[in-house]
Symmetry: C2
Subunit: 237 residues, 2 copies
DNA sequence: GAGTGGTCTAGACCACTAT
DNA sequence: TAGTGGTCTAGACCACTCT
């Protein structure tokens, strides 16, 4: 019958519903608790399932809910703080970081990475794929590009080792919103298209860019932290 | 008639559609160009309007499209890089920054801010509302909290001036995904609930937290940049 | 008033997880 | 096999902007 839309609502239903649910989450639910299923919830609030889902989607975006197909909708724990400051992460693969190498291959760098590295498109490089975990859950995947030596004989691990022996000049990072590619989604245990935070890093040595990476962080579960007190303390000493 | 879902598609229609549209945007459209309206596009690709919209929503999330009610859907320019590194933004309101003060009021700090400032909930503070612009467009709104002097007589502007005369110890920043509150959405010329990047900053003086702010950046148009070469260069000198 | 994107409905089937 | 969230449809009305 279409909708009736009486009540002269300047405020959309899903928006009001989201507010209602937020309050319910704050007051009546515990972290990890399973909510009623979508059909029941929609009936309870007198809206169509699609409208309810619009509210749930926003709450998931805000990190309040976690939805899993075949399981149900649960109340999400607070987001995990993930340190992405240069102090924590001086060179990629430095001992003690919480990244785990999944594999590597030799590639020709794509255009976007070539720009970051200040090299020609298609120049040879090692591509190292890594996963970052926090509290046992995967929170990020990364593609790390290391320009290959002219001989082309070294392994990815050797290239990483060589990197650690160099002088660090700085890092440049950008953060933007994206949606998970199919493969990243699989590694992060999410659906393709889920919102993610794209962290692009350019590692600088004294003679220019020495490495570049694109990391994909789960936006629903992560809060990126940039603590700059470390650098400031170095300045003061 | 419901859907028919033949073709045994492991890949959702909206996902495939998004890929198709991405290629079209790369090859056949110019920045600023207006796309056909949603009903026509849906018909052209043989899908329901809701399915088309699911694809458009993702493209908007990725910053490829801009949709405006009553106008149409246009091809978005590349995201603007917005510097949020400490080097750029040493103290809030430092001369030369691109923030503009919209107003201020005296408030009692809410719980989340009290935690950041290391003070009691409800302690008095100046709340300064600011807007940041890039290329003429608003890209962020901010609520900046400055603890009030014990006497309580100073103005917000005086409190800001006092801040600038203090020694900077460091900053702590976090970035996470959120959705725009009604008022922020209005200031940013977006709809309520639009995806935004929430940047929380704690400004540290030698005797502890001296200010705290929560900034709301448009996620569709902004790429946050953290260039750390500045601090590194200082270290070297 | 015409045209656009935004909201909403009622109902269907699909993919996945558990039992 | 039953139950969940994910996808999809066809159609309606609303809020907004432009002419």
């Amino acid at each position: 019958m279409g909708t009736t839309q009486l009540e002269a609502a300047p405020e959309p239903k899903y928006w009001h519903l989201k507010t209602t649910l937020t309050e319910a989450l704050d007051n009546e639910f515990e972290v990890g608790q399973i909510l009623p299923n979508e059909r029941d919830l929609a009936a309870r609030y007198g809206v169509a399932r699609a409208t309810l889902r619009q509210a749930l989607e926003q709450l998931e975006l805000e990190g309040r809910l976690q939805r899993r197909r075949g399981i149900g909708t649960t109340v999400a724990p607070p987001r995990v703080g993930v340190d992405v400051s240069p102090a924590h992460d001086r060179w990629p693969g430095a001992p003690g970081d919480d990244w785990q190498i999944d594999g590597s291959e030799r590639v020709e760098v794509p255009a976007a990475v070539a720009r970051l590295l200040g090299r020609a498109v298609g120049c040879p490089a090692h591509l190292i794929r890594r996963t970052r975990r926090a509290h046992g859950q995967p929170v990020a995947t990364e593609e790390l590009y290391l320009p290959a030596a002219p001989t082309g004989a070294e392994t990815a691990r050797a290239a990483l080792g060589a990197l650690h022996r160099r002088e660090l000049q700085g890092q440049e990072r950008t953060v933007e919103l994206g949606s998970a590619r199919a493969e990243d989604a699989r590694r992060l245990d999410r659906l393709p298209g889920s919102p993610v935070l794209l962290v692009t890093t350019r590692y600088l040595a004294d003679d220019g860019p020495a490495a570049a990476s694109v990391a994909t962080y789960r936006a629903d579960t992560c809060r990126l932290t940039f603590g700059d007190t470390g650098a400031m303390e170095l300045l003061a000493s």
